[in-house]
């Protein structure tokens, strides 16, 4: 058990990551060079993450949550807006500072097997980030690898070092992925659907592990999921995303009990719990499909499917963020 050690050496206020009006648009080209519009994967998203908190980004496919994650990780370049990490704007970093930033943010991916190179042993996989960041001493690398494996409860570490990914179970593979995300002692971890490809009985274990790691090192955890049921127990705040925008932000219990945006309400209504009475009920879900990110509908993006859409308003103008309850924000004209 590691003692409670905070890895972040950045001094400063509580706010670790500030995102303002972030846009990540991809340009489409016809025949390789003719401009043909943009895919607006992330469209004017703003939020703030505090040190040590766990925030869940909830949304369906096409909501932009994965693109948002990748932009925060530096894998996509923002088309507009700002990402400010520990007081520094990401766009203003030079190469060396960019590399340093990558060490401060760890990435846990959805597919545990795909996230690990199949031809490398666990020891080698964990050594790679250290080598890339210039930790040349073998002994030091060994030490940190053992430390990381202990954190994720893959012990005895020596047993696991020579193993290859295909020799591990799904849960163990994901632990290796988490170990790799931790090995550079980041301040923040972005986890994109970390348990959706694991078995039900293993999911809780891994989520517990992430929780323990977060609290023992005061890490910020941004995790992306479509499983609202897990969010309740493992996140403090929740951001609901729809069609490349954040439509609701709130503390998690508050949102589960009193959702303010019609989309969040629909999501919660669609969540199944193991209840035999379900077989007799038909769930009410909004018809239609999520909109295209190339040419989204005018006004509020959810209005074509929304049971409470206000004509002449919701289909004309994009709603700003309202605060119907303290600390609980929803971008919906119903709360004007």
């Amino acid at each position: 058990m590691t003692a409670k050690t905070t890895w972040t050496t950045d001094s400063g206020p509580d706010s670790l990551l500030e995102v303002r009006d972030l846009r990540t648009w991809f340009e489409l080209r016809r025949w390789g060079f003719l401009p043909a519009g943009f895919v607006r994967a992330v469209d004017e998203v703003s939020f703030e993450l505090r040190r040590g908190e766990a925030v869940a980004f909830v949304g369906e496919s096409g909501s932009g949550k994965s693109s948002l994650a990748r932009t925060l990780l530096g894998l996509y370049q923002p088309t507009g807006g700002e990402v400010i990490f520990a007081g520094r704007n990401l766009q203003s970093l030079n190469r060396a500072e960019q590399l340093h930033y990558r060490a401060r943010v760890g990435y846990v991916q959805q597919d545990p097997y795909g996230a690990l190179p199949p031809f490398m042993s666990v020891g080698r996989i964990l050594a790679e980030p250290l080598i890339v960041h210039g930790i040349s001493s073998r002994a030091e690398r060994r030490r940190r690898i053992n430390e990381a494996l202990e954190e994720v409860r893959l012990t005895p570490a020596d047993d696991f070092l020579p193993k290859f990914p295909h020799m591990l179970s799904g849960g163990q593979q994901q632990r290796v992925v988490i170990a790799r995300a931790l090995i550079l002692r980041p301040a923040m971890i972005i986890a994109d659907e970390p348990v959706s490809m694991l078995d039900a009985s293993v999911r809780v274990e891994i989520l517990n592990l992430l929780h323990t790691i977060r609290t023992s090192h005061n890490l910020t955890l941004a995790f992306i999921t479509h499983d609202l049921a897990t969010v309740r127990h493992f996140a403090e705040r929740i951001f609901v995303m729809y069609a490349a925008k954040v439509v609701e932000k709130s503390e998690v219990n508050e949102l589960v009990d009193r959702p303010q945006h019609p989309y969040s309400q629909a999501l919660l209504a669609a969540i199944a719990e193991p209840d035999p009475a379900n077989a007799d009920r038909v769930r009410v879900i909004p018809g239609g499909e999520p909109p295209s990110l190339i040419s989204p509908p005018p006004g509020c993006r959810f209005h074509p499917r929304c049971p409470h859409a206000i004509p002449e308003l919701c289909d004309r103008e994009m709603p700003p963020e309202f605060e119907p309850r303290p600390g609980h924000f929803a971008a919906c004209w119903l709360h004007r």
Partner: protein
């Protein structure tokens, strides 16, 4: 055998030959399914449930070592049919299947309508026009507009592709549809939509379903009965209400406790350890290594015992038929 039973499976076994030994994917499974009933085979990955589904329809890979057991459809022993007879009279005629990730297995260069209509062309020899017309009807049943008949698979979203594949299974009006993880790769709203479709089909067409899944919550959406599978065997076979509200087998109890629930304050628990490999199964009860209630007798493999309330449990704790 009770009258009105659509399907009866008697001691079905399916073993694979692999470079690591014999994999006992399905090890003596028996059950009965009535008409208009939906049974869920619930289990985690590696428990053999997919093999069970495919074995019932004789969609077997090449390295099958043993495939034994008797299967009766409406009293007729279809397991005794030759492969040709099975293919022409049972497969897709009386029993159809929607396989795992089927929505990704649609032929990308053929229009969706043609693919959905194909079983009618093959099994009933209908003309193309007639088959496409029927496809349009089935499309409306599963909730897709008939416009999409002329589209290609890549033009449909994941949820719509899954509905299309479901239409393909339903188009020959089978008595039984086996679905293997029909909603696992889909979003929450889409999942709910698919489950709504299944409920409607069950109600309007009376089709029976065997739904194979690892998702406990989804299974409760449609199950009349639940069969919990572990390491190749059924460990509990009960009605839906009994299973979800009063699980009997220790594994069932732990599994239900490990599901995170939205409206529950308590943090979900998890089950330690992993399921055994089908290549090297332990002697004795296969869940014993992970079971919190194991005791001496568990060194012997229990058979399925019938309890007073009609359900079946594979656990020595219920040996005398006492506990409920």
């Amino acid at each position: 055998m009770a009258a009105g039973n659509l399907l009866r499976v008697d001691d079905f076994c399916l073993f694979y030959r692999t470079s690591g030994g014999i994999g006992r994917a399905v090890d003596g499974v028996s059950f009965e399914l009535e008409r208009h009933q939906a049974m869920v085979v619930l289990g985690e990955s590696g428990c053999g449930k997919s093999s069970l589904g495919r074995g019932l329809l004789r969609l077997l890979p090449r390295n099958v070592e043993t495939c034994t057991g008797r299967i009766f459809l409406d009293g007729i022993e279809i397991s005794a049919f030759t492969d040709e007879r099975f293919r022409s009279e049972v497969q897709w005629v009386r029993i159809a299947m929607v396989m795992q990730a089927a929505m990704n297995a649609l032929n990308p260069v053929v229009r969706v309508g043609e693919q959905v209509a194909e079983p009618l062309l093959v099994h009933r020899g209908w003309s193309r026009a007639r088959a496409l017309a029927r496809a349009a009807e089935v499309f409306s049943l599963v909730g897709i507009s008939a416009d999409f008949l002329r589209r290609y698979p890549f033009e449909l979203s994941g949820g719509m592709r899954q509905r299309a594949v479901l239409a393909m299974a339903l188009i020959t009006e089978p008595d039984l549809v086996i679905l293997d993880e029909p909603t696992s790769a889909l979003d929450v709203l889409t999942q709910a939509g698919i489950m709504n479709v299944l409920k409607r089909i069950k109600r309007e067409l009376g089709t029976s379903f065997i739904l194979i899944t690892h998702d406990v919550a989804t299974s409760s959406e449609i199950a009349d009965r639940v069969a919990l599978m572990y390491a190749g065997q059924f460990v509990e076979l009960a009605g839906a209400a009994d299973f979800f509200l009063r699980p009997a087998h220790p594994y069932a109890k732990l599994l239900l406790a490990s599901i995170p629930r939205l409206h529950q304050e308590k943090r979900p628990e998890f089950i330690t350890g992993q399921p055994p490999s089908l290549l090297s199964l332990p002697a004795g009860c296969r869940f014993a290594p992970r079971c919190p209630s194991r005791f001496g007798r568990c060194a012997e493999n229990p058979g399925l015992m019938t309890l007073l309330d009609g359900r079946q449990v594979r656990c020595w704790l219920y040996a005398e038929g006492l506990q409920q």
